[in-house]
């Protein structure tokens, strides 16, 4: 069992997300940076369906009531437990260890996997906390005790060369954007602006949507769209022209025109965007 001492700004339980319930209005949810989440599980020898903790902007501390093997990935934080500890490594820690994540030096979201997985009760097939609908395990609070599961696939991986691409590099060289279904609702200049301008990540960004500010993307037609199905990665443009890239907890339908799509997979897609801190600037590029 793990006791949460301090959750930090926002810490949630996440796995690969809810599959197969979108048509009844249930969002996908799941880890915002899937590659970092998967790597954390792999390092401790978990099955890929195991849940990890998604920690926003560091600040988490917890006490291990039993001996455990953990690994941390994603936004790189100073990590202490049995002294200073390595990032991207499986760490075997004795019972009673207090694990602390400091402020991240790079990135926004860190993932802490524990061997066996975080054992929350699945809701609609997933242990992910959906911050929009409230489905899934509760957001972590001080004093909460988490059980450890048995979703073990093999031995922990001890490979110092294991790591992830630096999200800061992806954000600098540009996230990939593909044309969206409503590109024709915008002026010709709007697409050029989307891929040419610098976009600042707004402080109101969260798991529901990554809100960007920059030159307004102008529409070539007015009027409204009836609600359309959406996917995480869709770039919606409300009337103020400031794009919102939908995150894992986005609603399953939306009425704003979608100008482009940031792909879910790949190092220059949504995983990198999940690591963009408020205030940071990023760019898009076509493929």
């Amino acid at each position: 069992m793990i006791e949460v001492l301090q959750p930090g700004l926002l810490a949630t339980v996440q796995d690969l997300g809810r599959v197969g319930y979108v048509d009844i209005g249930v969002g996908r949810s799941g880890a915002a940076d899937l590659a970092a989440h998967r790597l954390a599980n792999r390092l401790v020898g978990n099955q890929e369906t195991a849940a990890t903790l998604e920690i926003t902007l560091g600040g988490l501390s917890l006490r291990l009531r039993h001996a455990a093997t953990i690994a941390c990935t994603g936004a790189w934080c100073h990590l202490t437990g049995a002294g200073a500890m390595d990032w991207h490594r499986a760490l075997s820690l004795p019972a009673g260890t207090t694990v602390r994540l400091g402020w991240p030096i790079v990135g926004l979201r860190s993932y802490l996997a524990i061997r066996g997985g975080v054992a929350a009760t699945p809701v609609l097939g997933s242990r992910s906390t959906d911050t929009l609908s409230g489905l899934g395990p509760p957001v972590l609070t001080s004093g909460m005790v988490l059980d450890v599961g048995h979703l073990i696939a093999g031995d922990p991986v001890d490979d110092p060369s294991v790591g992830l691409p630096d999200p800061a590099r992806a954000l600098s060289r540009g996230l990939i954007v593909l044309p969206g279904p409503r590109l024709d609702w915008f002026t010709d200049q709007a697409w050029d602006q989307l891929v040419g301008a610098n976009w600042a990540v707004q402080a109101t960004s969260n798991r529901i949507g990554y809100r960007l500010s920059g030159p307004p993307l102008e529409r070539s037609r007015s009027g409204e769209l009836p609600s359309e199905p959406t996917l995480p990665g869709a770039i919606q443009v409300p009337p103020d022209g400031q794009p919102i890239v939908l995150g894992p907890d986005a609603p399953v339908t939306g009425g704003y025109p979608v100008i482009g799509i940031v792909p879910r997979s790949g190092p220059d897609g949504l995983d990198a965007l999940a690591q963009a801190r408020p205030g940071r600037t990023l760019r898009f590029r076509g493929r």
Binding site: Y21, G25, L124, L135, E228
Partner: protein, 207 residues
Amino acid sequence: MSAGRLLPYGDRAVLIELSAAEEVIAVRDGLSRPALAGIVAVVPAARTVLVEFDPAILSREALSELVQTAVATPAPNVIMTSDLVTLPVYYDGADLAEIAAWVGESVEAVIALHSEPDYIVQFCGFSPGFGYLTGLDPRLQLPRLDSPRPSVPAGSVAVAGEFTGVYPRSSPGGWRLLGHTDATVFDPGRPQPATLTPGTRVRFVPT
């Protein structure tokens, strides 16, 4: 606008643009009834259907052919064969009198207009289990409230635009309230979490 136009939605999905609610129902039904290889998810909305697919198994061209076949399948077949759900309704909503005044009919007539037709759940959205029911009498097709209520009680039966629906739980909302039902329309602990799934036929029974 041709029926069944495929719009790009990234490398693993397409958005099918349709011209009528009946086509949405037909396409959703046609693409999700048999387990079609390569189709990962079919998500309907008002005039569009999102199809997530695995491009390694199903090509865009093959998907386009499936869509054209589905569009050509008449929707009445769907309506005749779908499951029927009846929901008892207490017509005591906060907006009932205003709706009656707007429509220019008595409250009793408004209740009859709402409870006589069979509806079809066209899609879900807004919140888990919130079904958008099509088949609403044009006289009851009113715009949303100018300013949404901060809290609409769970079970509220409401109308907005071309749709009627039931709020699965208490939430903010801008639909106009006709009444309420005691039925639980969403419970993630049930084997069938949502009562109002796309394609379901629905009848409201005044209580």
